[in-house]
Subunit: 234 residues, 4 copies
């Protein structure tokens, strides 16, 4: 594969960005040991930048990030890429708008996944961010494209940018890697809040009109760069 000067510049920027975003996984308590990773699509190329497999978060640098194609074949880097690279590559190949994919085993989201139960939309911040429930994806074994297909098939039918893969854990997508990390942090927080709310009784449900109003306002009016950050999926 020929890598253009422009692609090389994107890769350099994304090595720094992807490496740094792993600190957010730690900061928001989404990962233990090395069990989570971030990847980013390289704009204009069928390439992605991803964490090396099994490497401690404290040892990540822009230099040891790995560049692969969408089949997980290493294009740049001495290390093996994250074992979730194949799944991420499938997502990038199918959903053109997606610029980042994140996988964690964050505790409360994974607890819902263990019961194969979607997270119901009973919080305004969940309506804001996810526009409804967070759905469950199929049980899939790592190593072929079944995880990637499960993510894509499930999220095509939902506003949610997070999916709980059965007995496994959450995968999140976003227009950028940073947006996918935000979705991972918010997915865990709503899972935790809903789980704790239920311990004391039954949460009050939001109706679809309320959810729609919250979602559209948030996607269009929140933050500093609404055009850049707004509705992120077709």
């Amino acid at each position: 594969m020929k890598i253009t000067q422009e692609t090389r510049a994107h890769i350099q920027r994304l090595r720094t960005e992807v490496s740094a975003l792993h600190a957010e996984l730690i900061r928001w308590n989404l990962v233990v040991w090395t069990a989570g990773n971030v990847s980013a699509r390289v704009p204009g190329a069928d390439l992605l930048v991803v964490k090396p497999s099994g490497v401690d978060y404290h040892d990540l640098t822009p230099q040891n990030m790995v560049v692969t194609d969408f089949d997980g074949v290493v294009v740049e880097g001495d290390a093996a890429p994250s074992s979730d690279t194949f799944a991420a590559g499938y997502v990038y190949s199918q959903l053109e708008w997606v610029g980042g994919v994140v996988h964690t085993h964050s505790t409360y989201a994974t607890a819902f996944a263990a019961r194969r139960e979607p997270i119901p939309c009973v919080l305004t911040m969940m309506a804001d961010e996810f526009g409804g429930e967070i759905p469950v994806g199929p049980f899939a074994v790592i190593g072929d494209d079944s995880i990637g297909r499960g993510i894509v098939d499930t999220l095509r039918h939902h506003r949610s940018k997070a999916v709980l893969m059965a007995n496994h854990g959450p995968f999140t997508i976003g227009r950028t890697a940073r947006a996918a990390v935000k979705a991972a942090a918010m997915c865990e927080e709503v899972a935790r809040t809903v789980a704790i709310a239920r311990q004391g009784g039954t949460p009050h449900e939001l109706d679809q009109v309320q959810i729609d109003a919250l979602y559209h306002r948030y996607q269009n009016a929140y933050g500093q760069n609404t055009l850049a950050k707004g509705r992120s999926a077709p």
Copy 2:
């Protein structure tokens, strides 16, 4: 609007104070990503200082705080203000003694809010700080003054400086922004303690005489500056 020299000095001080207080939201685990904010009234002016919308807590500085009037119209600053500015402005316009407003989605308080259930007063520290239960406010959609009205209408009838807005999360008020942040931290802590107490059975209730004795002592005798810090509401 003409800004006097004295008002300008207040704004400078409050930019530093409000910016720094967001670190307390992180320190006490009250927020995830950018989901919480602090504002302060500018003394002697119908103005407030507030966090910019959607900006990372690590990127907050005195300089990027936003100054608005009580309708949320920006008076100073390049960034859009927090989307909760309109609610805070309404509170300042209605309750003259209030100098600070805080909003979070802290987990345990929000879990009570999801069930639209007040937090019962079963702890001495809750009697000290809140003088009784922490009440639930109405369900309100962001964007008009319905959140602000919900906060004011609910807290007028309670000693509590915290209200759990239905399916949304806690808002707290105080004579100063720092006092409102303290109320936010204590609100989450009592929500958490009561929720955990209930998992194992039924907490022992405090009667009104006990609650009153604890509240009056704490409001009048705790800390270093009881005159300044004491009874903070009419």
Copy 3:
């Protein structure tokens, strides 16, 4: 009161020690905002060194610690002492072997206190440290000696160095202030572990012979200075 040269040296050392020990309350998540404190007896004098009331943990220094007599009357210091000083002073006046008293509202211990339920001894580390259950003390209002009496009356009859004051929270005692802080940390940890164990069913009880064997071994053989650290109560 005449303060001897030797007493003055003890006070200097204890100002540093008591000030620093508050960092352990934060480190082990035992306190929120300013809701906890450490005090130490001044050897050979009816005096104690204690945290000033309502002061942020980050602002504590050896210099702003307060020295009082056992009735809470300030002997040295410009600040008001912790509102728990009177309770601590009573404990020092009644139990000569006690060199440190700690009070927190740590979440899980306080949850047991809200139900007025002792923590049962179902863990080896609990048998090691507390020699049996952690008992509940009476409901007492702050401000007279009823909290101090409640602590002393309850702990006289138990091996435990921790007592859960009803609807209030844990108080712990130790031969040194550091030992009392350790008891506070371990009290919260066993409360948390037992509460979580119960969520999934009924913990397996330890019998008295097992508890006694664990307690005596730990009190006599653990750590580096068993003579100094060992059996700490008559």
Copy 4:
């Protein structure tokens, strides 16, 4: 005992490694106060390197680590070794492939231990890491070889590198001390996730074919050095 030059070099390296690994126990919230320890086998000698007993994690240095034989007799060091040294020594004497032993009282794993209940394998990350359930070992009193025997007798029959000693807490083993620390971190995380999953209902079970597929892939294909890190037990 004659210590060869080569053994001396191993001891120097392991003093640094074992000392540093205790920071991981803190980092992943596996320990409170001094209640956990790491040891490592000295290759080619019947010796181990272990934490001194009752010493604060912040005071650990390569220099104050203790070297003992497999009966816990001190060979190098001024301090008493961890009270779990005897148990660790027994494990090293019986299982030649084991290079590290870790003991904690991490909360959720200890909660399962208090109920004497194994952790069921309902998560892909648990199948990956442990290859099935995490078993319970017998109740054993510290001080003779009964804890060591309980660990060895239980783990001989399981893929799991973690055992929950009844009413006590988890012990983990690994080809290296670092691998044993990883097992301790993952043991707590799966205990926590399974406990939280159960609060909301019944997790979906994995069948043995699924578990086997996940385990074999992970042991053979994850990380950077699969030959060195792969199947770690006979």
